[in-house]
């Protein structure tokens, strides 16, 4: 597909999708909820496109294309499969070149067993149950197109292993996760960190309808030469808090990592972000985020400020624009995205 064809197809797709809610209503299908075939099979998926412009990047990409299948075999057993193509199509507008990467990878594949509300077990490849951002990783469900560095570099985004979770018996609104991985990832393409082992726990407490706080701690060991040839063993401590009402949302997450390297000392890195969203009209919101990231291996900590706007004609269709200010101004950039969950 040439760049011109990509633009034409993309424009047609956007127009069609903006009318999708109307078309979908006529057919009885509700966008964002998948197509339920029967109890044991619901089909769905999502995609996102992203445009990025900075001093040295001018790029349009079909960022994620994914299909999902999930269902329930009984009251106690269920499963989920998600296949995803990352960077499926990238058009470099500055150099007038294109590239594609359609072969999908296994994003998630797991089976759930519910013994009770206090004990459920998830086995397989799953999202690591740490914090908020990590558990809502797809563009259409997020408030901004970009991710904080917190979510990309500090904790393995995925876990191939077992997670025991549920409501803690100690408190009505206290939930827990205890998770363990003792193998390589089921599919190492498109993952941020490639651990060979990972274990930890997470707790979250809901206060009324608006407030939620939580935290997690764990450690993981990376395969040599995966993301860094020297980093091998990392411990992390993470905390998060969130407030929501009809008009505002406020989210904050922070993490400290302690990394030990082969033949070198221990390094610490820390990251924190605070994000506010103001829904000033139905379907329209303004978002701002402040991020701080400091790796002891790097002399200057990074500070990032983001101002964004989000428009959702319906919740599962999202059009977003943002501008990022970095401490190093050459990294400043404009990002926009269009994403749909179907």
């Amino acid at each position: 597909m040439t760049l011109v064809e990509f633009r034409v197809v993309g424009a047609c797709l956007v127009l069609c999708l903006l009318h999708l809610p109307v078309m979908a209503q006529d057919s009885g299908y509700e966008i964002g909820l998948g197509k339920s075939v029967n109890d044991w099979l619901t089909l769905g998926g999502y995609f996102s496109t992203e445009y990025e412009k900075s001093s040295d990047v001018d790029q349009l990409q079909l960022d994620d294309v994914a299909v999902m299948a999930y269902g329930e075999f009984s009251n106690r057993f269920s499963y989920l499969l998600e296949l995803e193509s990352v960077n499926a199509y990238v058009a470099n507008l500055e150099r007038d070149t294109t590239s594609s990467n359609f072969p999908p990878t296994i994003e998630r594949l797991y089976i759930d067993y519910k013994r009770s509300d206090h004990v459920s077990v998830r086995v397989g490849k799953q999202i690591t149950p740490v914090g908020y951002w990590n558990q809502q990783p797809i563009n259409v469900l997020r408030e901004t197109s970009s991710n904080p560095r917190f979510s990309k570099e500090m904790v393995p985004k995925f876990l191939t292993g077992i997670d025991v979770h549920g409501f803690a018996p100690l408190g009505e609104d206290l939930t827990y996760h205890v998770y363990l991985q003792n193998s390589r990832d089921m599919d190492e393409a498109n993952i941020n960190i490639k651990p060979v082992s990972h274990y930890g726990f997470a707790l979250a407490k809901q206060y009324g309808k608006g407030w939620r706080i939580g935290g997690s701690a764990g450690q993981f060991k990376e395969a040599m030469g995966s993301t860094s040839s020297t980093r091998t063993f990392t411990r992390y401590w993470q905390a998060n808090g969130r407030f929501d009402n009809e008009r505002y949302s406020l989210i904050a997450e922070g993490i400290i990592n302690s990394e030990s390297a082969v033949g070198a000392g221990r390094e610490r890195s820390k990251a924190v972000y605070v994000q506010g969203e103001y829904r000033y009209r139905p379907r329209h919101s303004l978002i701002s985020r402040l991020e701080y990231f400091h790796d002891t291996g790097v002399t200057v900590p990074e500070r990032i400020g983001i101002l964004g706007y989000s428009f959702r004609p319906v919740f599962p269709v999202s059009l977003k624009f943002e501008y990022q200010w970095h401490q190093e101004s050459s990294y400043n950039r404009f990002v926009s995205s269009f994403s749909v969950l179907f």
């Binding site: 909820l33 999902m68 999930y70 329930e72």
Partner: protein, 135 residues
């Protein structure tokens, strides 16, 4: 005269505040009562059991008064918030509760399916059903 007026106004207030709808299970269910917080968790599918009993929540299709009343009083959410919740849950592989097309089919569903729980006008509650919560 004043006493009569006072009694009359108390009676009127009582009538105005009387619950119209009830959350019900089959008469033979061991569940005796559930508060609105627990019902919210069950109908949002955050919880699936009461004790060791697997629960099967059922919703009325569409936007009939009984459903909107249930959503606003028990779930404490409007339809937009509920849709947003289920879209997010779809990504987690969780579907909304099953639906039935009419109040009569909800009643039949609750009577026939083990663990079924739903809501009906109080006027439809008979000996085959047990009231857990009124709203």
């Amino acid at each position: 005269m004043r006493i009569i007026l006072l009694l009359l106004s108390i009676a009127l207030v009582s009538v105005a505040e009387a619950a119209e709808y009830a959350v019900v299970v089959a008469r033979n269910s061991p569940i005796e009562a559930l508060d609105s917080e627990r019902l919210r968790d069950i109908f949002l599918r955050r919880r699936s059991f009461e004790g060791n009993i697997p629960l099967v929540p059922v919703n009325l299709l569409g936007e009939e008064a009984v459903r909107t009343q249930f959503e606003s009083q028990v779930l404490q959410m409007d339809r937009g918030q509920i849709n947003q919740y289920w879209v997010t849950s779809h990504f987690q592989g969780i579907k909304p509760p099953a639906t039935q097309a009419s109040l009569q089919s909800i009643k039949t569903f609750i009577e026939r399916v083990d663990g079924a729980i739903g809501y009906l006008p109080i006027s439809m509650v008979d000996d085959g059903l047990k009231v857990l919560h009124e709203f």
